[in-house]
Symmetry: C2
């Protein structure tokens, strides 16, 4: 994982762009995967772990009606979390995770249901800002689901940035 | 580590109190050490990884003059980070880390210099709010220093809460 996050940070550094994250079920693991790279501070600005649902609104600006209507585990919420991290941390790019790590289902979503999102600047002048959201149903126990969600966010970020990761 | 953070969360749950964190060099690892405990959501509200110095002011309300005068690796900044997490996350308790993980010294502080802080409600009526700050000089490489800072924050929190951790 370190080599993948290092590749992403190196790519962003070469482009003069910065990164932030917003996390729910991964609870800091996504931020940690970037901060473990020496020199991360050139690119990685910070992250917000909005574990309690109310903090998704107060810390990251996710609209409360969206949370009320869809619950915290939802593709629109994932996109809003990433947008909030990008704005509050003043970064070019942001990635976000939300999902159900278990042991119990949450807000009508099963254990293992995960949404990851990436937001960033337009690919070309005149195009809209990039917003990518992906849904997963991950297998395994709580640690496996959390690790899988980090992996999914890193992969979506790499794909959106057109960075090829070493298999 | 999981059993220690679980003990702390169980103690706080029994007291009806909540927890948040603010992190710099640990970059999400402290939050992750709590979120990995099943049922953490009863107690753990969230965390803010203010990795870029400017975010310590904007996301956590650390006074900019304090950052300008002392740099980000400073005992007063550690206390202000914890106080900011407590206020912004609406928790009873907060723990914070700041320090130099390396590979290079930062803002006049050597690699391995770490400050951890814990803030919380008064121990008794009429007493001031609790503010505990501790300085460490940790040995080892970047991962070891980051792990040591998480350990130090968990230990200071346990000590402040008068929780006995299993050795």
């Amino acid at each position: 994982m370190t080599s993948d996050t290092e590749t992403i940070l190196t790519t962003l550094a070469a482009r003069g762009e910065t990164l932030a994250v917003a996390e729910s079920l991964t609870g800091g693991l996504l931020a940690a995967a970037f901060v473990e790279v020496p020199g991360a501070s050139r690119v990685f600005r910070g992250g917000i772990v909005a574990y309690a649902t109310a903090l998704k609104a107060t810390l990251l600006g996710v609209p409360a009606p969206l949370l009320d209507a869809h619950g915290p585990v939802d593709p629109s919420v994932a996109a809003a979390l990433a947008a909030g991290a990008r704005e509050r941390c003043g970064s070019d790019w942001a990635a976000a995770t939300t999902g159900v790590a278990g042991p119990d289902p949450q807000a009508g979503q099963p254990v293992g249901r995960v949404y990851v999102a990436v937001v960033g600047p337009p690919a070309a002048h005149g195009e809209p800002e990039r917003v990518e959201v992906r849904e997963f149903t991950l297998e395994g126990d709580r640690p496996a689901i959390r690790r899988g969600a980090v992996r999914a966010a890193v992969d979506l970020l790499a794909e959106t940035l057109a960075v090829t990761l070493t298999p």
